[in-house]
Amino acid sequence: MEVQLIKIEKRNDVSRSIYFLTPVLAIFLTLFGGGIIFYILGFNPIEALKFFFITPISDLYGLSELLVKATPLCLIAIGLSFCFKSNNWNIGAEGQLIFGGIVGGGVALLFYNHEGFYVLPIIILSGAIGGMLFAMIPAILKTYFNTNEILVSLMLVYVAKLLLDYLVVGPWSNPEGFNFPETRQFSESARMSILFDGLRIHAGIFITLITVFLSWLILYKTYLGFQIKVSGLSLKTAKYAGYKGKTMIIIVFMISGACAGLAGVGEITGPIGQLHRNISPDYGFTAIIVAFLGRLNPVGIIFASLIVALTYLGAETAQIFLQVPKYTGQVFQGMILFFLLGSDYLLFFKIKFLGLKKNEL
């Protein structure tokens, strides 16, 4: 039997422009792959893709919805970029989002019959702190007990989800709510203000934009950002330079958790207005794709969050117009990640064919 010998080699230098263009390529490949899937399902691929990606944002309401979805995605992804840049694999942003929502929502319920300008900032702050504390659990376990942060942060997602379930069914459920699994509606003072009448886009977008700017500042202009960068590239070097590795792990998890908590509190005080079982359509998990699609770069993440938000909207329109399940949205998100990782692999490694060789095994 003759076999082709293949060798995989690292490429020495990858140009910066191509590095930022591969995500765009991945998106085009996703469109192509999506077209094929629609074709197999019996749809005209061009029409279907139009329903998926153009129709949802062809009016003002659609654009507003796009921003409503992109707001939490971008916020969480920015937070995750701190973790991922320093080689800390926080997979549990969804849990941190929910826990932030629980804490912020709890405070909002405390104030359910209060009015006042101070109510919303307190809720937002407590949500951020909630997410931060929840993210510190995997960080502390990692630094002091050497546990794997991927597993711990992921498992904590289910803890947060079940806790939320328990609260909205039990102690926090609306006393006048006929036993529906939801809390009271928050008071007006506890809600993000709506930016335009008739649209759902809310003030949370400013929190996101401010966070993006602050993150850019921290990552590229501060000592902390420099330490994060060095640790991400070489832990050995970080150790040699004397950076406090443990403190840094905890700090990046805190930042990341706070961002996810903010996103959670933004959802419940923004579009939702109460706590119920499904306060997040897996934003915390999808944001991982956003972070990588945006190359862990603040500006990149803004664009990536818009594109991934579109898959959420597209799935909804496709469900209405093409009668395909809305989970097609997740198929598209999966394809984006798949094609991104695939093209990255070819970007960083080259495959060498060494010719045919007789195999006598």
Binding site: N12, F226, K229, V230, S234, T237, Y240, G242, Y243
Partner: protein, 499 residues
């Protein structure tokens, strides 16, 4: 079964170094052969050629007078050449038997019978059905050996097999090896431990700088004679002027320091004592893997030990991390210049910022002061004649020599009182080596001290005022450099003792 293995005129040239220079050796079954040499002497390359991992540029290998082509490890297996590497290639979570069956084409039942025969014959006690991760290092090695024995090897090559073994396991291994030899297997034993050569092997070939320098019977050799051959006596290099530091101030003192590692591939350090005077260079010799890495990290603060056993300028610094130690005017140049001392993906000025002093003001109030870092970097580039003035260049584009100049420059430009460097010149060309050596002599002349951990004896003899040897995590007596000879170093490095 009579096996003859012959390598003839084997040469292998890597960029910048001749790993094997016309190596010719002959081996016959019934004997155990030692291949002795320092790090970088070319032993590993020769072994890799025999096991098909590396192809020679020139020369041939003959098995029983027939020329054989070893293009891949598979070819070596087909020719019944078995190889046990220093680091084990086993799947930790699979059972012993699964590990054995992976690369065997026999049926499982037949294989089990065969393995049980081998276990009985050589009195190995290993449970075949437990996962490999539950085995001790010695047992894992036995699994590797069994894997070779399954294939009825004519030749068995052992690459520094005792480096992870306990004394007892070493004794067991030697008994087994002698038995294999009696059964007609030709054994080639790679080592740098002189005692092992004398107690185990029949013949010894010594390699130095890619060449075979001697082949002899071990009964004709002593530890001293082998040490001499291994290290060489080329001491024609200019030595530094030896100073008398009797009245100088003591700058560093380490007393009774112990370090125990959880990692079996790391070396424990036992009862370390040393002291260093102002302006002095202390050389630490030894064959790599005897604790140099751990010692460097203890000095640099990457490994934190107890607070009291390291005194630097009359302050206890044992609990400080590298950055904090730098504030006390220590500087460090690690062995791994490519992925530890610098990050290849970072620009030159970013790599300079890794050595961050409070007084350097690289980061004011937590913000990056790029202008300051770049000015500082430019100064390093020109003062230490690095072959570029572009501080925005990624450091992966610097040659080894220029990168090392950058690192040494970064460490020295802040005038530290003590520089600890670990193999500062490995892999560099002669020009760069000379530059680094001159720089190291210069800092001593300026009254600054240095600790030079190196596996290059010429370098140590050239630069040190006092020298000691680290062997299995223990330091030898510290000797004045003018009383030290290459022979003495060789004996101590191989685990022998001198009076």
């Amino acid at each position: 079964m009579n096996t003859k293995l012959k390598v003839s005129e084997i040469s292998k040239i890597y960029p910048g170094c001749i790993a094997n220079d016309k190596v010719s050796l002959e081996f016959g079954s019934g004997k155990i052969y030692a291949l002795l040499g320092e790090n970088g002497a070319g032993k590993s390359t020769l072994v890799k050629i025999l096991s098909g991992v590396v192809k020679p540029d020139e020369g041939e290998v003959f098995l029983n007078d027939e020329s054989i082509k070893l293009n891949s490890p598979l070819d070596a297996k087909k020719n019944n050449i078995g190889m046990v590497f220093q680091h084990f290639n086993l799947f930790e979570t699979l059972s012993v038997f699964e590990n054995l069956s992976i690369d065997s084409d026999k049926k499982d039942e037949d294989l089990r019978v065969l393995v049980n025969d081998i276990l009985k014959k050589y009195n190995f006690k290993i449970d075949l059905d437990i996962p490999v991760l539950n085995l001790s290092a010695g047992q894992k090695q036995k699994v590797e050996i069994i894997r070779c024995l399954i294939r009825n090897p004519k030749v068995l090559i052992m690459d520094e097999p005792t480096s992870v073994l306990t004394e007892q396991e070493t004794d067991d291994l030697f008994i087994s090896l002698k038995q294999f030899s009696k059964d007609g297997i030709l054994i080639i034993y790679i080592t740098h431990k002189l005692k092992e050569v004398l107690s185990l092997c029949d013949e010894v070939a010594v390699m130095r700088k890619g060449k075979v320098v001697s082949v002899s019977k071990t009964i004709d050799e002593k530890i001293e004679s082998l040490a001499n051959k291994m290290v060489g006596e080329n001491l024609n290099t200019i030595k530094k002027k030896i100073n008398n530091f009797k009245n100088s101030e003591e700058i560093l003192k380490i007393s009774n320091l112990n370090f125990k590692s959880d990692d079996p591939y790391e070396t424990n350090l036992n009862n370390l004592n040393l002291s260093l005077k102002k302006g002095e260079c202390l050389g630490i010799a030894g064959i790599s893997g005897n604790g140099q890495n751990e010692l460097f990290q203890i000095l640099s603060g990457e490994i934190i030990t107890d607070g009291t056993s390291i005194m630097f300028r009359n302050k206890e610094i044992g609990k400080l991390n590298p950055r904090e130690r730098r504030e006390y005017l220590m500087a460090f140049s690690p062995e791994d210049r490519i992925s530890q001392a610098a990050v290849p993906e970072l620009k030159i000025y970013e790599n300079v910022a890794l050595n961050n002093f409070k007084s350097s003001n690289f980061f004011e109030k937590g913000l990056v002061n790029e202008k300051k870092i770049k000015e500082h970097s430019k100064k390093i580039l020109s003062n230490f004649s690095v072959n570029t003035d572009n501080v925005e260049l990624k450091s992966q584009f610097l040659s080894g020599g220029n990168l090392q100049k950058l690192i040494i420059g970064r460490e020295l430009i802040t005038s530290p009182e003590l520089l600890v460097c670990f193999n500062p010149t490995w892999g560099l060309d002669v020009g760069a080596i000379n530059y680094i050596h001159e720089t190291l002599i210069q800092i001593n002349e300026q009254g600054k001290s240095s600790i030079l951990i190196s596996t290059d004896n010429d370098e140590l003899l050239k630069l040190s005022d006092r020298i000691c040897v680290i062997y299995k995590g223990k330091l030898s007596k510290i000797m004045n450099a003018d009383t030290v000879t290459a022979e003495k170093l060789g004996i101590l490095m191989g685990g022998g003792s001198i009076d």
